[in-house]
Amino acid sequence: MEPQLIKGNEAVVKAALLAGCRAYYGYPITPASEIVEMAALYLPEVGGVFVQAESEVAAINMLYGGASAGVRAMTASSGPGISLMQEGFSYLAGAELPCVIVDMMRGGPGLGGIGPEQGDYFQIVKGGGHGCYRNLVLAPASVQELVDLTMLAFELADRYRNPVVVLADGSVGQMMEPVSFPEPRPVPAAPAWAVTGTAATRQNLVSSIHLEPDVLEGHIRALEAKYREAERSEPRWETWRVEDADIVLVGYGIVGRVLRAVVETARRRGIRAGLLRPITLYPFPTRAIRALADSVRDFVVVEMSTGQLVEDVRLAVEGSRPVETYGRVGGNIPTVEEVLQFVERTILVGARVPLEVSPNGQ
């Protein structure tokens, strides 16, 4: 459809409905509140369900209910609410329920602030709930990508029977950009395992309890196999001018876009910089980063946290290259100028020297 200028938080609801989402449960919080408001407006119009929950605990458990009943369903929140939802994430993954959760990150810890931050990386990507489970995590950098990835999230959730999180910093939800919406997709029929209150589904059971150690281990191994499969098939990322790069900048979401501008400016100043922007945070584009480590001298991770994404980059690089980290927090978005300064100050001297690869990296 013809591009229209639209705010991220409004677009995410429309994308969900186009993807066949027909239930939303949520609790207001800045900077995600427009999502619950838009859901309240549109869900009833399409014959769907909207419930303003009494808390994020209730919201995520309503999501458990909707998903159990075989409905494409979602919720959204930000840091403090996402923290409350962690119990539900664990149960949803344990019971293998497909669903979508949008986290428009704000500053923390505690009440923190409401400006954009990326401090929820650990709790979402590493798992803030109990037990051996993972969320599949998608990280949009633009409103168009927010739309595309929200729609993809529902597909992945069904494919893997697992919660999928759309993880964006608050600015992606708050900003307006042109978006081309795709055509609506038919609402899928309830999956065969769902409990819908019919004769055909009477023998179905949704549950996460397995008290027998061997049975539980089997269940956890089955989940693990799913995650391995996702790690093989689903990593997504974008690279920009990495072919001849000495320095590769790594950042996701809004930061990924700032870094693209950094690459351009750096190149004008004679620094061969490139960008890798992870689009899936779990599964992480580990192999793509590892492959770059063969030709790149340094990695610079930039994020709106004090160092969360950097851990995954370091794991990917496995110590073969230096991985520097630059972060802004509290609601501040790193600027092109300051990142460039950081790059110049800490790395420039090395990067201008012709690349020499020694076994231990330096």
């Binding site: 900077p31 399409v46 209730a58």
Partner: protein, 500 residues
Amino acid sequence: MASDTPAMAVVHGRSPIFYRRFDRKDDDQHQTHYCPGCGHGIVTKLLAEAIDTLGIQDRTILVSPVGCSVFGYEYLDVGNIQVAHGRGPAVATAVKRSRPDSIVVSYQGDGDLAAIGTAEIVHAANRGETVSVIFVNNAIYGMTGGQMAPTTLLGEKTTTTPRGRDPAVHGYPLKVCELLATLEAPVFLERVALGSNKQIMATGRALRRALENQVHGLGFSLVEVLSPCPTIWGLDPAEAQTFVRETMTRTFPLGNFRDRSASAVPQRLAVTVPDLGELPRILGLGPASGVDGASDTVAPASPVPTADHRIVVAGFGGQGVLLLGEFLAEAGLSAGYHVSWLPSYGPQMRSGTSNCHVRISAVPIDSPVVSRPNVLIALNEPALRKFLPSMEPGGLVLYNADSVPVDCAGSGAGITPIASTAIADRLGSAKVGNVVMLGALLEATGMLPDSALERALHRLVTRERWYELDRAALQAGRAAVRRMTAAPAEPSLAQDPAMG
């Protein structure tokens, strides 16, 4: 059930709703896991009876809690969902709303419902969800081995009240039916007990009522069952039953607390599901129409290939800062450019300062963050002072005032004072000061064609009165700049009598 049938005989019989063999159980598949004399066993059987009597087996969905009844799904041949501790009512809410033909039963213990799940039960009841809740009150945490429950009787010793429940320390037994009876929405609230065969039969009747109400779509029903837990209480089954009958009922009087079954109207809302093809229209994804119904006809886009406008708009909240940015982005889009609009957001919108970053570019936009603006629209002095230092040399600054503060004048950026608020005031509303600035910007830079601005106004201004005012403001802003360039020495545009 005939009234002369001995109740215990009834509950010892096997309803067809009960699985013949408990295949989902790991061990002994012919015995439930409940202790002898446990109330859960009786309630489960009564529930099976009620489901059978009402002929709703296929439609029923049992939501099992965390507690001794966590394994409800091992026994009842209905759809089953096992949920987190206390969250049954939230889960049941969502299931019922999306599957209104199902009969949803949330089965919960007293720790589950009256402690950890207090919020969920109160709000499900208050919303009047059309679900049936079975609340088994045994005044103790059974599954975890006998800790105090919110319903534990005063003086009662538990593993966490080793000296007995003391109201000064632990509070009083929580009376759920009485609590929920303060709410408007519930249709049926009844407390029953398993203290005698007669009480057990009454329990069966109450459970049936709770389900029947749901079959008729009547709203929220809850049955609280005072129930023995002989194991934790340290009593034999007969003693435990006596304790329920003679002691528990003194704290928790039996009876009906709400019965509007006769007067309640079915809750079922008519849901219309539009055709898929209708969705874009419903979601406003088609071409937009503004005040005069004009639709967005796409202009032959001829963007300037070098265009790279990095704009910061800043001022007080309430000056229309964000809307001014939105006009620019919208107009940029219809002129064929790539655009982005990034607001400051949060409490500052309510009081202090507000700003937004707009980019209008011939090439795809890398960062929507404008850290080095080449255009600044400062609607007040703090905004001017805040963003002036970040300006690109040679950039354009439009400043809402008669004159430029002397210490800012030599900043390198060309600062043009436009008294936009004053001009707007004279047009009839200070609120269109932002559009005056927009006019000034277009006149000063020619960055966007008039037709694009027209379309942006069509799209964003929905009220006729404002539309006309905005058009006037746009022209006034343009005129101000024209006069400025015609008479650069003129210190104050606001004093110009022609503006009246």
